[in-house]
Chain length 273, copies 2
Amino acid sequence: MEVLKTEHAGFCFGVKRAIDIVLKEREKTKENIYTIGPIIHNSQMVQALEEKGITPVDDIFRIKDGIVVFRTHGIKKEEEEYIKKQNLKVIDATCPFVKRVRKHAIYLEKNGYTVVIVGDKNHPEVKSVLSYLHNGGIVLQKSVPVPAKKIGIVSQTTLDADTFLDVVNGLVGGAEEIRVYNTICESTQVRQKEAARLSSMVDIMLVVGGMNSSNTTKLYNIAKKEQPNTYHIETDEDLKPEWFSGMQRVGITGGASTPGFIMDLVERRVKYI
Amino acid sequence: MEVLKTEHAGFCFGVKRAIDIVLKEREKTKENIYTIGPIIHNSQMVQALEEKGITPVDDIFRIKDGIVVFRTHGIKKEEEEYIKKQNLKVIDATCPFVKRVRKHAIYLEKNGYTVVIVGDKNHPEVKSVLSYLHNGGIVLQKSVPVPAKKIGIVSQTTLDADTFLDVVNGLVGGAEEIRVYNTICESTQVRQKEAARLSSMVDIMLVVGGMNSSNTTKLYNIAKKEQPNTYHIETDEDLKPEWFSGMQRVGITGGASTPGFIMDLVERRVKYI
C-alpha cells in the first residue's frame, strides 16, 4: 500500500503552544491543574494529560483551589469573572487566533455593527466569543438575511472557506455597510487546501482526529467531496482492513489537534494492511 | 397591443434635482451656463437644455466666464480646483448618492484600505471618485484577486447587484479585512428588480434611455436575460413595427435619466402598432 501524506497535519501553532504551556506548568508545581473543558478536542491527548494530573472540568464553579487553564477555544466571560473573584491562579492557553476573533467581534459591536459569527453555535470557541458581546451576535452556518444596516462579520477559526464566502455573499446585498474580518486561521486554510488536493490523488483517504474536533470534521467533509472513500478515524484501532481491498494509494491527513504519535501509528498500520 | 410598465421609470431623484437646479438658475440669470460634460446621459434632454443656453463643455479649462454646473456624475478634483482658482460661479448638481460613493472612498483610503471601486473605469462617476484618491483606486467589473490585507469596496451607483456581489465574493477570501459599502443607489436597485420582473411577464420588452446611460444599459442587460426580445431605444423613432409581429404584451421601462415625455411618446406609439 502506497501512503501519501499532506505536508501539514497534526498539531497547529495554537495547540502546540497550549500543550507546552500546561506541561511546563506541570513541571513547576505539584498543585492541581484544571482545564475548563478539554484543552484541545482530542480525547487521546486529553487522557494522556489527565494521567499527569491535568484534569478537564466542565463545571468551573466547583473549582476552589489549584491552577486553572483557559483552553485553546477560549473561555466564557462569566467564567473568567468567577475565576478572578475566586482569586485562583490562571494560565491562559487560549489560541491567539481565537483571541483575534473575539477582539474583532468586540470592536465591531462597539462601533455599531450587528455582529455575525460564521460558525457553529455549539462550539466552545463561538460560545466564548458570544459571551463577550453585550447585545449577543448572530451565529450562521448558511446564508440567511440579516435585517441590519451595518453588519460586521467574523468567522470561527476552523471554518471552511466555502461556508464563509456563502454567508458573506448572502449578506452583502442587503446592508449599507458590511465589514468582514476573515478570521479563519492560516493553518486551517492551508490544511483544507492540502486535504482537498491529496484526496483527489488517492483511492482512499483517512482523516485522523477527534470526533468532537471542528477542524478535523471540516477536513473530512472537504476530503469526502473529492474522494467518496474517505474515513474519519480517531486512532489506528478504528481502521478496517476491508476498506483497503483493491486500493493502491492511501492518503492520510490529520486535524490541528491530532497528536503526531497517533498519525504515526495510523501510517505504520496502514503500510502493513 | 397590451402595454405594461414598471412602477418606477424615468427621472430618478438625483436627475430630477439636477434639472430643477439648472432650470431655476436659468430663470434667475442671463449669464452663460455651462455644464461639465452632459448634465445627464440623455441627449434629447441635453439638447432641450442647450436650446435654453445651458451648454455642455468637455474642456472646462476654456471656460472664462458665466456659471459652471457640476453635473450629476460629479466632477474631477483637478477640474474643481481650476474652477475655484478662476473664481467662477459654481452650482453643484452632483447627485447626493454619487457624493456618498466619493465620501466613503476617501474615508476608506484615509483609514489604510486599498480602495476598490466596482464599476466602469470610463464612466464619469468613477473617474470623479478616482480623482479624489491620493493613491488611486482599483476599478473592477469582474472578480480579480487584489493582493492587499485591508480592502475597502464601494460601487458605482448604477451598478447591477450581481456584478457587485461577484466582485465582493472574489475578494473576501484573500484579504484579512474587507469593508464593503454597498453604494448602488436605492433607485437603481428598485428599477433593476422591476425590470427583471416585468420582462418575465411580457412577449417583448422596451428599455428607453440614452445609449451612453450606464443605468439604462444595465436595465437592458437585466431585461434581456429574462426576455430575449428586449430592445434598447432612445426615442419612439427607434421603434420597428416588425418587432411586434405576433406579440401581445409589451413591457416598457426607462432609465434614471430618461425624460417622462419620451416614455409617454414610446407608450403612445406602441399602442397603435
